[in-house]
Symmetry: C2
Subunit: 627 residues, 2 copies
Amino acid sequence: MESQPPGRPSPAYYDIVIVGAGPAGLMLSTCLARWGYKIKHIDNRSEPTPTGRADGIQPRSLDLLRNMGLKSAIMAHKPARVFEVAFWDPPKEGKGIVRTGTWASCPSFIDARYPFTTLLHQGLIERVFIADLEKQGVEVQRPWSIKGFKSDDKVNPYYPVQVDLEHVDGGARETVRAKYLFSGEGARSFVRDKLGIGITHKDPISHVWGVMDGVVETDFPDIKVEHGSIMVIPRENNMVRLYIQIASSTDPDWNPRKTATEQEVQASAKKILKPYSIEWERVEWYSVYPIGQGIAGKYTLDHRPKAGQGMNTAFLDAQNLAWKIHAVEAGFADRALLMTYEPERRAVAENLLDFDNRYAKLFSQRPPAANEVQAASNNTNGSATEENEFIKTFKESCEFTSGYGVAYGPNSLNWSPLHPAHSPLVLTYPEDTRLRPGHLMINADVTRVVDANVVHLEQQIPLNGSFRIYVFAGRPSSTTQKALLDLASHACKGRSFLTSYLRPDLGDVSHHENLNPHSLFFTLCTVFAAPHARIEIARDVPALLARYRGLVFADDRFDHRVPDATAAAHAKMGLDPERGGVVVVRPDGYVGIVVRLVEGSGTVDALNQYFGSFCKKKLGGVSRALL
Amino acid sequence: MESQPPGRPSPAYYDIVIVGAGPAGLMLSTCLARWGYKIKHIDNRSEPTPTGRADGIQPRSLDLLRNMGLKSAIMAHKPARVFEVAFWDPPKEGKGIVRTGTWASCPSFIDARYPFTTLLHQGLIERVFIADLEKQGVEVQRPWSIKGFKSDDKVNPYYPVQVDLEHVDGGARETVRAKYLFSGEGARSFVRDKLGIGITHKDPISHVWGVMDGVVETDFPDIKVEHGSIMVIPRENNMVRLYIQIASSTDPDWNPRKTATEQEVQASAKKILKPYSIEWERVEWYSVYPIGQGIAGKYTLDHRPKAGQGMNTAFLDAQNLAWKIHAVEAGFADRALLMTYEPERRAVAENLLDFDNRYAKLFSQRPPAANEVQAASNNTNGSATEENEFIKTFKESCEFTSGYGVAYGPNSLNWSPLHPAHSPLVLTYPEDTRLRPGHLMINADVTRVVDANVVHLEQQIPLNGSFRIYVFAGRPSSTTQKALLDLASHACKGRSFLTSYLRPDLGDVSHHENLNPHSLFFTLCTVFAAPHARIEIARDVPALLARYRGLVFADDRFDHRVPDATAAAHAKMGLDPERGGVVVVRPDGYVGIVVRLVEGSGTVDALNQYFGSFCKKKLGGVSRALL
């Protein structure tokens, strides 16, 4: 231990110090607090985000919030739901503006549970996280800021980072030690500055926009639908947010530092909306700001990126990091797992910037025809042959803006032919299955056998830090049943992925524990291709899987996307209902690997190979059953 | 005014005194408080219902709670959802019990939004109402009881009822005057006793049951599904409620006053469930009680019935009364409207008792075959020809237990050929429409035009005390459009149902007011049989209806119940999309009358006739437009 300065208390020890209580910091804090980590969380503002700064929650982010049990608290604020974006342009002849088309926020080719963007005051969203943190005993310490930090394994190998914190009025100071330091400070980051990581602006500032929240009276028909040039966004409590272009680099008097008064912003809006009228009853908040694209020069474990995507990106960054920290700190995964964070999230940010450029380029060449938008929106089967470049790009844009398009490339977590798991039993996309490693699992309805409740399969395992193993078990009492028994018996043998990571308190686990009865790193779930009344858990489900009583499902619900399927969930995943398959989903909902369900040890061998590529213990080998 | 006893304050004046804060009292109080009435609400318990007494919220009651904006607060408690009831019986050969069938709580032939029974602690449900009342400034005064009441129009014609109230410890007393006195005291009612109204027991006590809430460990497979002989009901927090038959009038030692200890109740349960085992980890609450059927001798406006149906019936009783009191007190309806309360609710209670008898009789003759249950559950088209008596009775039972079967007979509110509205334009069931006066409007999805949100049509007008006028307007720019314009212009003329009841503050109504911009007694809504992108409010909707901007809908959503329909909502209601129709729905969601949409004054004339049969003013006649 290093010597202490006189008169200061000895440093407190934390698993992590989190700087900044915006969406990224709060998401990370919430996940880790729930999983039992000790957190020091500071923010340099005295209060959470007060007003303005409404943000759009993407369809996929709503799934994620629901998976954390936070969706209903957010929806209780009755946020606006944007189903469509309307485009208004000057007409070919004459003056004024006319509606030239409407685009769905999340067209039907995306299989989303919530096909709309949810708009809510960011401060209200933050408070939902803050309330959840309070339940875990974590309080954000305000207004405090970070004054310095250094990392030295030799001083304390368990808590290598020393962090100096100070009350913003300069009075109180605190020095703490931690395993991790996370900066969620946004664009102006002390931590990033200290580490010498810049933000690369791919493009210089190109526009100045005004944003204004308020209650308006207008005869403009689409005031509740989002717009193009001027963006009109409905909000809660009769409010409307307008984003109004104030200046552009193509203007003759272009000045990237241009500002505007409230009246000037309103005048710009009135000009754009002509011949329609608009008057403000009340302005809640307004601001003027320059825009450009930015990306952090380096994604490291010591900071979080500012990729210009706001809250949705922040959520995914933090969630990606959270479960990986947990996997390492709880003793499951090798520390190298943390190295997958930067490439995964950085590639997403880069893809997005690249896409933005392609998108803008394509649209500047020629505007899309209405029938192309229609064709792109309605096409659900993805038959690529008839798609022109516009339709492809439009679809890609929908996938990005809905959040469903976020996907991670091959690495130890996301199987590819280069992965060390070389089992011939791996099912590959698109030949054997519609599930793709690194992509989200596909949403599907099923019936829970114990209580006949109709449920959303992808939501049945909460964000609990565990890998999700979905055993698609074919039909009960059919030929797959021998394979199912073999899967269970081999998973119970010594040195399997499961028995290698049993709970230390295995004998004392309550029989009500349904998610992690055996291991904190795995939750197992079984889906039969049969009507739920035909399934008898005691008869059809091996004891290992029956222990997850509430996670035995019947694939017996009609799905209009696969109207002819007898087992719609199997069909949507592209799995044969006669043969089944085992789907490994990462704790964050992305597919890791899909394996054939076969008799003998092959299926568990393949899972052992997969998990063995990033976990700490050597898996596999012959031994007796332990469970 | 009568003289005051010395030393007592002069009586306070209330619109209504409500005695008892169970489901009926709370529902009535909540409705009337929201509509601005002054309420004295007392209850003789010091606290709301503490524990036990969980109750099942029927599927239709959940619609009702949602229509009041209270559903999400109830669902936030994560109540159990019962989708199925399982029947276990002794096998034909051998010992023990086997599952002989499962019945859906709300089979698919019922077009329910929430096809399950919601189980939650009654105390938690009551607290949702109490919290809502607090927002309106109404507090339940506890523990106070009613000591006497008398009614005399001559003393005070505006507040005819004098009510004496007393703190249960006998200390404080209060005398108040009111327009109405409501007793929601349940089976032991001071008010009913005073009025000499007995409860008729159609049958004497026939069984003694035990009920026990607790956490159990069992190998019985259906512990999360409701059962027949023994009733096993899942509850929140891993709890299970068991209803266990303790004694029956067919027992040799039958005693209707039999009691049982906790251990005796558990022993009965263990015996019934053999060969399965059951052990209690914790008993939260248990009780033993006799059962029989009861109905109040008289339904009057001075009390509420105790029909043995519990919370769901109480909700409907109170809601039925609430909007009628409002219609009368706010000056819309003739006082005679109140006389429809007793016959409507009494007939529902009697139908239920009669049905129970028929049901029991049918089942005692022979148990239903599994294929009959299956046939009854799956039949969605209601082709009556192939249904035997069992299937019909089973369906009827599902309609009762889901709440969708509650219907009111002909009177001034529910049109029939005997109704004073003799217009030839009335659409009748089943010839012209699938909507039936006195029955609930049929649920349907539509798209809201202003913001492209997909919504549930039947939920778009909240329980606001207004009649709901749904104008099914056919296709925009088609031949129905002249009829639509005529409807709007005749509704705007003097002495129409609408102009006769305009808001006194008509000129000062905020342009954000979307439900009652013209009248507190009517909310108007328009549904086009067209894709939402084709509808231009400024062009297609007459100004009167366009004023309800958020209530203009497109009937453009697919519905699997009418897969071939181009306009599914029209099809479900049995309305021709080329011709439309006007549907009047009572404030409580029951259909009043359905009228053809025609050119000229006929449609409005028919509406004037309908409303004229129970409202205070004379409607109809030629005059100039007032709106």
